[in-house]
């Protein structure tokens, strides 16, 4: 089992999440979960390269990405709750109403 297996895994996860972001018009909720999956794949990539190259900086960046992912999901869910309260739907098509 080499690093290539791990890199393939994280690449496929990232592509799945990209597909979820691009081809999803049903639900803002699934969109947020796809973004989280994308950040997870990037995090796995950083960690695998940090182990492969013996460099601690990848693990530090993984910590920072973790913090940013937490902030991201908090803000996204807050916006989603507000949108749902005012509009009563979660479809992505109506998200253009946030332009103001």
């Amino acid at each position: 089992m080499t690093a290539v297996n791990y890199l393939t895994f994280s690449t496929i996860l990232f592509l799945l999440a990209i597909g979820g972001v691009l081809l999803n018009s049903q639900n803002l909720f699934i969109l947020l979960m796809s973004i989280e999956l994308m950040l997870l794949a990037v995090n796995m990539n950083f960690l695998v390269f940090s182990v492969l190259l013996d460099d601690m900086m990848g693990q530090l960046l993984a910590l920072f990405i973790l913090a940013v992912a937490a902030a991201d999901s908090a803000m996204g869910l807050a916006i989603l709750v507000t949108t749902y309260r005012t509009r009563g739907t979660m479809a992505v098509e109506y998200a253009t109403g946030m332009k103001g």
Partner: protein
Amino acid sequence: MNNSTILFGVLSSLALVSGGLVVRSGALNPVPAVFLFLLVFVLCSGLLVWLDLDFFAMIFLVVYAGAMVVFFLFVVMMCTFRREGREHEVAPRHTEFVVGLLFLSHLWLVLERSPRPPTPSAYPIGEHCGHVTSATHLDTLGTLLYTHVPLLFIGSGLILLVALLGAIVLTVHTPGD
């Protein structure tokens, strides 16, 4: 094919299948999608244990599975979803396919240019004798965090503070409105 390969294959393929189910089939009922999302994170932390990154495996479990997925579950339970079905299915979405194809072609170009990851630089054996002190993983991480990148550390703290304040400001419900 030894045991580690089989275990890696089982963990990663389960994670990929549940990731795909999160992305595709969660559009009609989000609660199973949230649980599959949790499964992806747990399996990924299993993969990290296999890389000897036990601290990060624990952090993934605590932060992702403990905080974030519970947060998602709260929102699912707070907003009762109507089953909206596929009533507003927009027929062909060309822009998304073009963006996806651009991304795939970019990925293919990069992979074609460098098909294998870079190899670690090999230090001559015995050069560091007498200069090396051992430190645990957590010691190294803390030392680097507080001495090499303190500004990034403070910055990520500020980002978390802004997210906290923004979430409160967005969702606070004053009775006057």
